[in-house]
């Protein structure tokens, strides 16, 4: 600690602020404590968030996304559709791999084609599911042929990491990839850091790559430690073992406000908590008060769904349950995402009207239901669940709250065992086809949509709009389709959005400034040294 403070003081005295200017960057070490680590050093093994978070230090994705998840040029400089099933990508020239070789179209083709051979169960095939064929025009131009119009192809590529076709050549089967990449032999990327060492659940050690195309990173050596327990990670930060931590819990966030050595950094996340109401004729976990059978599924009645929506006091939920770390949600994506609509009214809280609506719908005494939620997936999920239970009980719907582990919840949810259930959904691609296409479109294997519609919600208008949007290559028209689909979905209230979660990072005030990203990644390159 002392030594670090001294070197910072020295840097300040010399007028070096440790910026990206390269020559001025002082030899500094950064230690980050993260809740979850990568699964493999092969960036194509898993599509999980922590995997991409770690991989982005070593590899670059083909298309970059900014802090707010909107597309920016990365290794690909520009992209445009040539016809219904061809996209042209222009690549950045002068980009070097860690071994000094040049980045070319060959590496992109190689990366796309190796994915089906090396990916694990959290399959990265989703990034290339629309790709039929990759055609190299010249070293820096390529045509990607798709299986039909693929309007959202560039969004698919935001986590398509590019590996060196030379280094990874012999490590591109399921049996050889882990060995080649985890040992570092094949883990050659174009990213800001070179891999020094890693083992499963162990520290990820990185060193600066001086020829990075954005300019060298402010840190010479970066260590990412996996400390899964929130309280321990915070203790490690306070003890000076780490400089930055992600996922500060809401309770700790309050306590940190009074700590003079630690700064917190808050950002909106991509996660929205959605209550989902089963639309089938028979639903298993709803009954009359006292246990009798109801003659039909009350959630099919729009008045009941509206009553449930009106029973939720979102402001209290944010202030009390989440300690202010969230914003009330009126739709399934945060504001500003491609396809989120400004026309959707702000959510109301009106328990009187809710009771009235229930009475109108033929439930003057309410009914009884089991509410299921995850309790260990996202910050506050279990607590929100309990809050919902109390709010519903106040308008007459007796609610048994079951906040359970995600490893039990998701398989049961997939078997459609629940009637009313809530979990977070993150719009990781920043656009609506990812969210509405999976949740709001009726389940349909032919058009490959509705895979996560577990309530059998079916609105023909929404289906039509989503299918039209998926084929529409004109971005403005597509946005209009998605916005309308979002408006219609939210008006039906089979999905009731509750809150947009926020994420908190904390860091040593004298050492770092963290830029929050909506996808919750903690990228060492973008953590700036604190200016004295």
């Amino acid at each position: 600690m002392k030594r670090m403070a001294a070197s910072l003081a020295l840097a300040a005295a010399l007028g070096l602020s440790g910026t990206l200017s390269g020559t001025g960057a002082i030899a500094q070490e950064l230690t980050i404590g993260v809740r979850g680590g990568p699964e493999s050093m092969d960036p194509h093994y898993s599509a999980l968030g922590p995997q991409a978070d770690a991989a982005k230090n070593i590899f670059d994705p083909l298309v970059w996304t900014g802090d707010d998840l909107q597309l920016e040029p990365g290794l690909a400089l520009s992209w445009e559709p040539l016809d219904d099933d061809t996209w042209e990508f222009k690549l950045r020239e002068g980009v070097k791999f860690h071994d000094g070789s040049d980045f070319t179209a060959e590496d992109v083709k190689f990366s796309i084609e190796r994915i089906p051979n090396v990916t694990g169960p959290t399959t990265t095939e989703i990034y290339v599911r629309r790709v039929a064929d990759v055609e190299i025009i010249d070293d820096y131009t390529m045509h990607i042929h798709t299986d039909g119009p693929a309007a959202t192809l560039p969004y698919d590529f935001v986590r398509l990491f590019i590996v060196s076709s030379e280094a990874a050549k012999d490590h591109s089967t399921a049996e050889t990839s882990a060995e080649g990449f985890n040992s570092g032999k094949a883990a050659v990327g174009t990213g800001p850091f070179k891999l020094v060492s890693w083992e499963p659940k162990g520290d990820l050690v990185l060193e600066r790559f001086d020829d990075y195309w954005r300019g060298p990173a402010p840190w010479a050596k970066v260590t990412r430690k996996e400390i899964s327990d929130d309280a321990s990670r915070l203790a490690a930060l306070k003890a000076g073992d780490i400089d930055v931590m992600n996922y500060v819990s809401s309770a700790d966030y309050l306590a940190l406000a009074s700590d003079p050595d630690i700064e917190t950094f808050i950002g909106d996340s991509v996660y929205v908590m959605n209550l989902q109401l089963d639309q089938r004729d028979e639903t298993p976990k709803v009954r009359a008060k006292g246990g009798g059978k109801l003659d039909k599924n009350p959630f099919q009645d729009p008045r009941v769904r509206e009553a449930i929506d009106l029973a939720i006091d979102r402001d209290t939920m944010v202030e009390i349950v989440l300690e202010g770390l969230g914003t009330p949600a009126n739709q399934m994506m945060p504001d500003g995402f491609f396809g989120s609509s400004k026309k959707i009214p702000a959510p109301q809280y009106d328990p009187e009207k809710a009771r009235q609506l229930l009475a109108d719908a033929g439930y003057p005494d309410g009914f009884e239901m089991d509410l299921y939620c995850t309790s260990d997936r996202l910050p506050g999920d279990g607590a929100i669940c309990e809050g919902l239970g109390q709010m519903f009980s106040q308008v007459g719907i007796d609610t048994n709250v079951n906040a359970i582990s995600k490893s039990v919840y998701f398989p049961a949810q997939a078997r459609k065992e629940y009637s009313a259930f809530m979990n977070g959904w993150g719009t990781l691609t920043g656009e609506a086809s990812y969210t509405l296409g999976s949740l709001a479109h009726s389940p349909n294997e032919e058009v490959k949509m509705g895979a996560f519609n577990r309530i059998e919600y079916h609105n023909p208008d929404v289906d039509k709009l989503m299918q039209a949007g998926a084929k529409e290559l004109d971005a403005d028209k597509r946005r209009a389709y998605f916005e309308e689909a979002m408006e219609k979905t939210m008006a039906d209230r089979a999905y009731i959005s509750i809150v947009v979660l926020q994420t908190v990072w904390a860091g040593n005030k004298d050492k770092v400034v963290v830029m929050p990203r909506a996808d919750e990644e903690t990228l060492a390159y973008f953590i700036q040294p604190a200016k004295k």
Binding site: T123, A178, P200, S232, A235, K238, D241, F410, K448
Partner: protein, 324 residues
């Protein structure tokens, strides 16, 4: 003696076979891991391809026999999450757990038994009362809380010891051990203390109860009458007489602590198997869960076998009874 061991070995094999069925069926009952692992955007054909690749489309019985077949060839499969062979994955983290558990248990034994004997020998002295209070604390205060308090006190407030991780290791036989370096010991101190507390309390109480009982027996009276010094009575006779329950509990504790060092490992970010197994359960990483449970069952069976043999060595009645 050899007949006795042979009989125990056969029992062990049956237990292992039954265990493997229970574990496999139990893990299968939790749910299909692919529901959790396959990402939401996956289309139906991608999903089916993935499920097929991991053999999860086959019926349970077929999956089980495939597993047993591979197991008998020494192959426990590859982790879904890390794509590494399960044995390598567990093997790379086992030394950290063994080191932590051994330090904790041996520490608890070496400190707990003498203190317990003293407390039993002089039950009314204030020191004995203090020892007994400490042991009650060790029983009743939850491990995770003690762990956090230790971190807050020694790492955050005093800054004497590091809060997490394993520190420098020295390679011996290709495995890294941190108890061979000073830095390693500084990392080991807090988690080992945390983990040792419960076992320590147990040792104290067992030793005390045993001592109090034995002190009243004729053996001790005659020894005193024969003019043998108190120190010799305690170390030579009492210690031997109270050791059977202590050995039993020591064996059980060794196995349970090994299997359940999870809490301590999570709090101190100790890179042992406990953390690995908890994450595997959360992610439904079936191969790791199954392999770990089988290995744990194996460890329990082995330790119990060893304990039985130690009994036989300690107690001639058992030895002779089974030799027939």
């Amino acid at each position: 003696m050899s007949g006795f061991i042979l009989q125990r070995l056969l029992q062990a094999i049956v237990i292992m076979a039954v265990m493997s069925v229970i574990v496999f069926a139990g893990v299968y009952a939790i749910g299909n891991p692919m529901e959790l692992l396959i990402p939401p955007e996956a289309t139906q054909d991608v999903r089916e391809r993935t499920i097929q690749r991991f053999g999860l489309d086959k019926p349970l019985v077929e999956q089980y026999f495939l597993f047993v077949k591979n197991l008998l060839q020494g192959d426990l499969g590859r982790s879904y999450i890390y794509n590494e062979p399960v044995l390598k994955l567990i093997g790379s983290r086992l030394p950290a757990t063994i080191e932590l558990v051994t330090t904790a248990i041996v520490g608890a034994l070496l400190l707990g038994v003498p203190l317990g004997i003293y407390a039993g020998y002089r039950p009314d002295s204030p020191v004995s009362r203090a020892i007994m209070s400490l042991s009650i604390l060790g029983f009743s205060v939850p491990t995770f809380w003690v762990g956090l308090i230790l971190i807050l006190t020694f790492a955050v407030e005093l800054g004497w010891l590091p809060a997490s991780g394993r520190g420098d290791t020295v390679e011996v036989f290709g495995v890294g051990w941190s108890f061979l370096t000073l830095n390693g010991w500084s990392h080991l101190a807090l988690p080992a203390t945390n983990l040792a507390l419960f076992t320590f309390a147990m040792m104290v109480r067992l030793a005390r109860a045993g001592t109090r009982e034995v002190m009243l027996t004729d053996t001790v009276k005659f020894a005193r009458a024969a003019g043998i010094s108190e120190r010799v009575i305690l170390t030579r006779h009492v210690l031997k007489l109270i050791s059977i329950p202590i050995v039993t509990v020591f064996g059980l504790e060794l196995a349970t602590t090994m299997a359940f060092a999870v809490v301590t490992e999570t709090i101190f970010a100790w890179p042992g198997v406990g953390k690995l197994i908890i994450d595997s359960i959360n992610n439904l990483d079936r191969p790791v869960m199954v392999a770990y449970l089988i290995l744990t069952a194996g460890a329990f069976v082995t330790i119990n076998l060893v304990v039985d043999i130690v009994y036989a060595l300690l107690d001639p009645r058992l030895r002779k009874g089974h030799a027939r």
